[in-house]
Structures are given as structure tokens and as C-alpha cells.
Amino acid sequence: MAKVFIYPTTSLILSDLVARFGHTPLSAALQIRDRIQTPGLESPPLQITPEGPKKGLRWAAVEVPSGVRGRMSLYGPMIEEAEAAIIINNPDFSFGCMGCARTNELINFLIRKRKVPILDLEYPETDEEGVEFVAAIKRFLDDLNGGAA
């Protein structure tokens, strides 16, 4: 079982696919769930406090906007933990929306720098492409288990 970073990290469909095929998804939803369930914090809606952007300094310098650094405090640890990654390029908003383009550029750079197995896919536009899209994800995830289904 591998820890698989997904992009967009907010994609519930992608997170579900990774879990269904026997791996641990590294996704925003799980990170935010952890934060919301942590007692003692009260900073809705995401439970990110001003400490978040400070933690984000590990991945982005102080002159980088606070929103980027705050996002990196969420995604940075996931990137470092990742043993594999699935990246969907040009996804539809409904598939998973990553709010900040600068953060997205940094995430894509950092995950590729990790040299872990990466599946790069274009977002499907047709039913046929959709079927092949899911099949490609399944093949990639199976291969992470040494080919076992």
C-alpha cells in the first residue's frame, strides 16, 4: 500500500479511486478533516490559523503571498510524505478545484522533484476518454503493488 499524492488534491473522485484500489490517498479533504476534528482550534472554515502561513515558510519564502504559504502548510507535508502521485492536468472545476495558480505551479514542481512514480493524465472530455482515464489510474495503482490487482 502506497501513499499517493493526488492533484487536484481537493478531488474527492480521485481520492476515492486511490482508496478503492488499495492505497492511501494524500488529499486536502483528509488533511482538513484532521484539522476540523482537532480540539482547541477555532479558525473556520478550514481551521488554518495565522500559524499556517508561517509553517508554509518551509516551502515558500516570506515574500510569497500568505495564501500560497498557508496552502503549502497543508499540501507541503503531503508532498514530502508521498510515495507516488497522480496528476490530472486541466481538470474541470467540478472534478476538484485548486484556488491559487501560483500554489499549483509550486505543488507541481515540488512533487516532480521528489522523483516518485507519477501518473500524468489529461482530464477526459468524452465517455471513452473517461473509461480510459479510470483504467490508466487502476493500472498505475496496481503497478505500485507490483502488478497485483
Binding site: P50, G52, P65, S66, G67, R69, R71, L74, G99, A101
Partner: protein, 411 residues
């Protein structure tokens, strides 16, 4: 109107840990922040129609939400636009949306660039102004002062009081702010004395400025109001520009305000300043270093040439260093005074006036508007004649006295 509903168009506050601060600032003025809901199809269509091709999805969403507000598909009383400080893409969107909403609707709008250090206290005056414009349009429409009223402006540098009777200023009081309440008491005493009336005769009192709540409680004020709406009202009243568009610039002791006004009511405004180097405080320091009274700085600057002295007061410390270096290198006090005025005006121009639409007449108010060198520097930058009305330094107190007359019993 019950709770004022403020639509938030933003990118990044929830990830910067400041959404809670925005919500708290709104709640403090009995307003609520909400995020306009859109259908996915509307989002794509609205964004395409707007025509600004940005890459960040949150900014695309902000654009679509702005379109929905302007087109009346979503109802709101005011709009708050917030994006990360130092993000160029967001700054472009923020400015364009502010302009778009201002030009195409009657919604009051304020834009702000935040960092993780932004607090609800920083946002409070802006939220208060937004809600006032939404909630008290009828009060702000008041053009004539009636009866016998008093306005008190408890500012960060100076405290001012004005007594008005039947649309005329009959007494003024001014002094540097030290202890807030004592300064207010003394300003009131002077204004009442000049007017020849007693406190008991005053029919209604209004307070504004940083100390407005404290002083307001102390004098049992009828109206306690932030300085953005009050100063706008005072400015157009004194400049006799109550109808049509105007722009009000107030370079204060601690921060600056630039307000785009329509019929005496603020439409868009900015408030702030990166550093004291862009405020009246730097001019105070300059006059001290030159060994002249602040009242002499203006005439001195009028005799000088700012171009002869390189000065950038982006930071008050470095600005003072430039000032000392220039004097040590043999520059004349006149040129240094002119350079200091130009530096302050330039920063207000670059940092704040870009965020409001400059519409004539441009009215400069507050104590710094009496420094002619500063007004000249601003005129050069804006390429327009600036009006400095009589009693410009009492602008907040005049606005308060004017608006307070709406609270006279039986009115």
C-alpha cells in the same frame, strides 16, 4: 435595515488564517459576510464574459460572483474584496472588480490586501464604513446642518471640536492628542467658548476618529461614526460639492484615506499606508529636523525644488536618513521641505490613489492639507487643481456636527 449583508469576493483569506478576522470585523458592526453561491455553468459563462484571463480558479470565482452581484442575480448590501498582499494576479483582479462594481452598481465596495497578520481591528473601520453606507444612506444624504450641534474628531495626532448653528461653524477647538479624554474635553471647552454657548445648550453631539468610541461614551454622543463616511460628508459640505462626483484625500497622522464620493456618499475608498513615511508623521519629523514649526513647513516647501533632493520616505527611518544626508550635503531647507512633501504625496499617489477613481473636484482635507507644499506636490502628481476648503483641518468634526443634527429630538 437589520443585519447588513456583505458579499465577500476573495482569494486566500481562509488559507491565510484571516477569514475569522474578517468575520469578526463584520460581526462587530452587526453585519454578516457571505459568499455568493453560483451554478457551475454561470461561473464559466460570467468569467468568459468578463474577459480578464486569469489562471487562479478562486479569482475566476470572484469575477463570476461580481458579475452576479452587478446583474442583480444575487442580493447584497455591500461588497468586500480581499486578496493576498504581494500577489500581482490578484491585485489586477481586485482593482478591476472594484472598478467594475463601482461603475455598474450602487453597492459600496472596499478592497483590501491582507497578510496573515491582518486583524479584525485593522478591518473594523472599513467594515463600519461599508455598513454605514448601506444602513444609513438617509442620514448620509443630509446636506444641511440644523440647530445647535457639536462634532468631535479624536484623531491619532490631534483632537478637534466644532460647534455649528444653522449650517454655520460658530466655534472651533484644536489641540494635539495626548490623553484621549482630556484632549477631547479641552477641544470641546475651546469650541464652546469660541461659540459662546454652553454644553447644555448643544442639541446633539457626534464623534469620529480613532478615539470615537471612548470619547463618544464620555460625552454621551448621539452619533459615533468612523471617519471615512464622516470625512466625506464634511469635505463635500465645506467644499460646496455635495452633488455629483468628487474625490477626498486625507493624509492623516497615522494613516491616509482616499475616498471616491458620489453625492456626498463614499463609493469606494482605501485606508492605510504602508509606513508612517507616507503620513503626516513624516512631515512632523521633517519640520522638527529643519527646526521650523509644522505651520511653516508648507510655505518653506513652496520656495524649494523637490527634484534637487533625492528622497523616498517609503520607510520613515530611511526617509529621515535621506533628509539628514541631504542637509549634510548642503541642500537648502527649502528644497528638503519640498522633497519631503513630494515624497509623501508620491507614496499616497502610488499606494492608495491607484485604488480609487480620481474624479474632480479633488478635495484635500485634514491638518496636512494646510501644508501648501504637500498640496502642490499632489496637484503636480494628479495634474489637477486641488480644493482645500476653509476649516479643512476640522473636517471630521464638521462632518460629525452636520450628521449629528439628524439626531436632534423631533427631527
Amino acid at each position: 435595515m437589520t443585519r447588513v449583508r456583505i458579499a465577500q469576493l476573495s482569494c486566500g483569506p481562509e488559507y491565510s488564517g484571516v477569514q475569522k478576522e474578517i468575520d469578526a470585523a463584520a460581526a462587530a458592526v452587526d453585519a454578516e459576510i457571505f459568499f455568493p453561491d453560483l451554478k457551475l455553468a454561470d461561473l464559466k459563462q460570467s468569467y468568459d464574459e468578463f474577459g480578464l484571463d486569469v489562471r487562479s480558479p478562486d479569482l475566476k470565482l470572484a469575477i463570476a460572483r461580481a458579475k452576479a452581484l452587478v446583474e442583480g442575480r444575487i442580493e447584497a448590501d455591500a461588497v468586500f474584496i480581499a486578496t493576498c498582499f504581494r500577489c500581482a494576479e490578484a491585485a489586477i483582479v481586485r482593482n478591476e472588480l472594484r472598478r467594475f462594481i463601482h461603475e455598474n452598481s450602487k453597492l459600496p465596495v472596499v478592497s483590501y490586501s491582507f497578510t496573515e497578520r491582518t486583524t479584525s481591528g485593522t478591518l473594523l473601520t472599513r467594515m463600519e464604513a461599508l455598513t454605514t453606507i448601506a444602513r444609513r444612506r438617509a442620514l448620509l444624504a443630509r446636506e444641511v446642518q440644523q440647530g445647535l450641534t457639536m462634532g468631535i474628531d479624536s484623531g491619532s495626532s490631534t483632537t478637534k471640536a466644532v460647534v455649528m448653528r444653522d449650517n454655520t461653524i460658530i466655534g472651533t477647538g484644536w489641540l494635539p492628542t495626548t490623553a484621549v479624554l482630556e484632549s477631547a474635553d479641552e477641544a470641546i471647552r475651546r469650541a464652546l467658548s469660541e461659540a459662546g454657548v454652553t454644553r447644555e445648550e448643544i442639541q446633539a453631539v457626534g464623534t469620529t476618529g480613532y478615539g470615537r468610541f471612548l470619547v463618544g461614551d464620555h460625552v454621551n454622543a448621539d452619533l459615533i461614526q468612523e471617519e471615512l463616511t464622516v470625512n466625506s460628508k464634511g469635505a463635500v459640505f465645506l467644499a460646496d460639492a455635495q452633488h455629483g462626483p468628487s474625490t477626498v484625500i486625507d493624509i492623516g497622522g497615522m494613516d491616509n484615506k482616499a475616498i471616491s464620493v458620489q453625492d456626498g456618499i463614499p463609493g469606494t475608498f482605501t485606508m492605510g499606508g504602508i509606513c508612517a513615511g507616507a503620513s503626516g508623521r513624516f512631515l512632523e519629523m521633517t519640520s522638527k529636523r529643519l527646526g521650523v514649526d509644522i505651520t511653516e513647513l508648507g510655505p518653506l516647501a513652496m520656495k524649494g525644488m523637490s527634484r534637487k533632493v533625492p528622497m523616498n520616505s517609503y520607510c520613515i527611518v530611511f526617509g529621515t536618513q535621506s533628509l539628514v544626508n541631504a542637509l549634510a550635503a548642503g541642500s537648502t531647507p527649502e528644497d528638503v521641505a519640498a522633497a519631503a512633501c513630494h515624497s509623501v504625496a508620491e507614496q499616497v499617489f502610488e499606494q492608495q490613489l491607484q485604488e480609487v477613481d480620481i474624479k474632480e473636484p479633488v478635495i484635500m482635507v485634514g491638518g496636512t492639507s494646510l501644508i501648501q507644499g504637500l498640496v502642490r506636490a499632489m496637484e503636480e502628481l494628479l495634474q489637477t487643481k486641488i480644493i482645500v476648503p476653509h476649516h479643512a483641518q476640522y473636517i471630521g468634526a464638521v462632518g460629525s456636527a452636520l450628521l449629528a443634527s439628524g439626531f436632534i429630538k423631533g427631527d
